[in-house]
Amino acid sequence: MLNKSSNLRKVILGAVAGAFVAIGTTGAVAYPTKPVTFIVPYSPGGGSDQQARRLQPGLEKALGVKVRIVYKTGGGGAVGFSELWRSKNDGYTISNVVVPNIVITAKGKDVGFDPSKFSYIGMTARAVGALMVPKNSRFKSLDQFVKEAKANPGKITVAGVGSTGKMNMADLAGILGIKHAYVPVSGGVGKMIPMILGNHVDAAMTASSHATKHKAKLDTLAVAGPTPVATLPGIPNVKKWGYMTTWGVMAPPGTPADRIKVLNAALLKATADPKVRSMVEKNGLSPMRQTPAEAAAYVAAAVKKHSN
C-alpha cells in the first residue's frame, strides 16, 4: 500500500514537472490536446479517402492525439470545402484538399469559399493525367488515336470526371490538334472504368494512379508531364501536357502559423514512413514533401493558371 502510494506520488510529480517543462519550452498553450477532425470531402473508397486513411496512423502518432475522419460529401467536393471554410480555425479541424478540383469547382460559381485563402499544410502525393483505352481497342498507340480523330473530327468519345476532366481533355486535344466528343461522368473514376471496359466510350481521361491500378484490363496511350511514369513503363509522355492531380491537407483560413507548423511536421513524419511511401509508389503516385509556404504557393499557381 505504502509502496503503491509513493509510486503514485512519483508519477504525479513527474507529470507536473513534465507539464512545466512543456510550458517552459513552447511558451504557448500546448497543442494539440484533444482529437483533431479530418474532413474528407469525397465518398469513402476514393483517392481522398485513401489519402486520409493512409496518413491517419502516422498523424496520430506524431500529434499524440486521435485523428477523427468525417465524410462531408457532395457538390464535387464543394460541400466539404465550404464546411472547412466555416470551421473554427484553431487547428483542430483540417481537411483533404485536391488540386485543381478545389480551384475548378470554385471558379465562377457560388460555392461559398475562396480556394486562395485557406491555410495549406502541405501536399502529399500527385498523379499525372493519363489517356486510357480498353485492351481490345482499335487504338494501339497515340499516333493511331490522333490519326483517326483527325479523319473523323468529333466522332471519338472520351469520358472524364466532370468539368475537371473536360478541361484536362481539352488541353490534350489542343496540343494534339484533334476534336473529340466529351462524355462527363459524375462520381469519380470508379464509375468510368466499366464504361470504358464495356466499350461504351472510345477512351477515358484519368490519372496515372488509376492507369496503374487497372493495368491488367486497360491500356494507356499517353501520360502527361516531362517524364514517363515509373509504374507505366513504355507509355509515352506528352511533354506539353501539364495536367496533374494533387492530394494534400489544409486548415481553415487564418489558422495560427505555429499550429500549422506542428501539423506540417506531423504530416512530413507520416509521409516519411516507409510503409506509407511504398503504398504511394505502388499506386502510381509520386510522393511530395512541402512546407506550408510551398503548399500555399502551389495552390496560388493553380488559381492563377485557371483564372483566365
Binding site: 486513411r53 462531408k72 457532395g74 460541400v79 462524355v183 466499366p194 484490363k217
Partner: protein, 502 residues
Amino acid sequence: MIEGLMQALSPGYFFYLTLGVLIGMFVGTLPGLTATMGTALLVPFTFALPTGEGIAMLGGLYVCAMFSDSIPACLVNTPGTPAAMATAFDGHPMVQQGRGQEAIVASCFSSTIGTVFGAGCYLVLAWPLIEIALKFGPPEFFWLGIFALTIIGSLAGDSILKGLAGGAIGLLISCVGISHGNELARFTFGVPELRGGVSLVAGLIGIFAIPQVLSMVTELRKKEFIAEYKPKGGETFKTIRKVVAHPLHLLRSSAIGSFIGILPGAGSPIAAIVSYNEAVRWSKDKSQYGKGDLRGVTASEIANNAAAPAAMIPLVTLGVPGSSPAAVIAGALMLRGLNPGPELFQSDGALVYSFGWALLFAGIVTFILGSLFAPLLVKIIRIPLRLLAPLIMLLATIGAYAIRNNIFDVYIMLGLGVFVFIVRRFGFHPGPIGLGLILGPIIEPSLIQALYISDAVGVGKVFFTGTINITLITLSILSVLFVIWTRRRDKKLQADGGERSN
C-alpha cells in the same frame, strides 16, 4: 476455392464474421446508419486483424445490414437503408395485421436465400456474369431506370395520375444541387447547403418516418399501439414453409437481385424495386400486394440481399466496386497494399474465395441471429404510441444528421416529411416519391452521358439499338400496357359487381 472454404471455416474467422453480422444488425436497424457508413466506421478496427478476417467482418456487416434494414421498414414503415423501401410496402401492412413475427422471420429467411444465391454467383459465375454486366452502358442504364419507374403502376393506389405525379416530384427533388457532369447549381435558391443536393437517406427518412410519426400523434386517441402482437410458438417454421411454397418466385427474385447487384452503380435499392415489380407482374393474384402480401416482402428482401455479395463481383473481376459498401471494402484492401481486381485472383486466390464463403456464411448466421431476435424485436410495436412516436422522431433526427454530419439534412427531412404527410391526405402514396428519389441519380447521369455519346454516334443508334436496349424498352412498354389493362379490367369488374348488388 476449397482452400478458401477451409480458411473461412476456421474458428477465429467465424468469430469475426459473426461479430460483423452482429454490428450489421445494429447498423441496419437504425435508419440513417447505412451499410456504407457502418463499413467505413468499422475499417480502422479491422486493421488489427489479418486481411481475411478483417474483410470477412466488413462483409458480414454488409450482408446483415441488408436484412436488418427491413426491421424498421416492417415495424414502423421506415426503411433502415434505402434498400428496404420496397420491403415496407407489404411488411408494414403485415405488422398492422398482427403478423409482425411472420414479416420479420420471412424477411430474415429471404435475406438468407438471397445472400446464399448471390454468394454462389460470386464463387462460381463471377467471370461469365461480369461479361454480361459490362454490356450495360449509359443508354442501357437509362432504360433500366425507366423500366424500374414502371413499378409506379403497381404502387400508385387509386389514381395512376397521382402515382406519376409522385414519381415526378421524387425525380425533381433528386435534381436539386450541383448537376452531374458540368457542375451547375440547380434549384438551390441561393442556399449554400442545397448545393450538395438532397441526401437520399435523409429524404427517405423524411418521406416515410415523419408522416408515420405525425399520424401516430393525430391518431393517439384512437389507438394505443401500432398493432396487436402475441409471440407464437412454431411461427418460424410455419413462415419458412410459406416462403418456400413459391420456388419460382424465390429463384426469380434471387436472379434479379444478383444480376442488378453486379451492375456497377445500381446496387441493392434498385434490385429490390425491380424484383418487387416483377413479383407483382408474375403473380396470378395481385390484389394483396401493398396490403400485406408475404411475397412482396420476400421479393424485396431476397433481391437486396442477393445484390450485396453480387456487388463484390465487379470488385474482384474488374477492380470496380458494384456498390458503396463494396467501395469501402475496396479501400480497406488497398490500405493493406492489395490491389482489388483480376490480379488478386492470381496473387491471393484463397482470400478472394474465402471472402465469397464468408458472405455465404454471413447469410446463414444472419438467419440464426435474426430468427432468435425476431420475437424480441417485434415487441417494439407494443411500445405505447406516446412513447414510440418521440423515439422514432429521435432516431430519424439522429439518422438524418449522421449520414453527412449536416444539420441541414435534418431540416430537409422534416420539410419533406410534413409535405408528404399533407399530400398523403389527397391520395398520394409516399412510394412513388421515394422511387423517384432513388432512381433520379441513375436515370439523370446516364441520360446525359448517352446524349453526349449521341453527339458523336447519333441518337437512334445510341438509344434504340442493341439487344439490351430493345429488351428494356419492350418490357417498359408492356409493363405500362399491362397496368392500363388490369386497371380497366378491375374497374369493369367493380362496375359489374356494383350492378349486380343493385
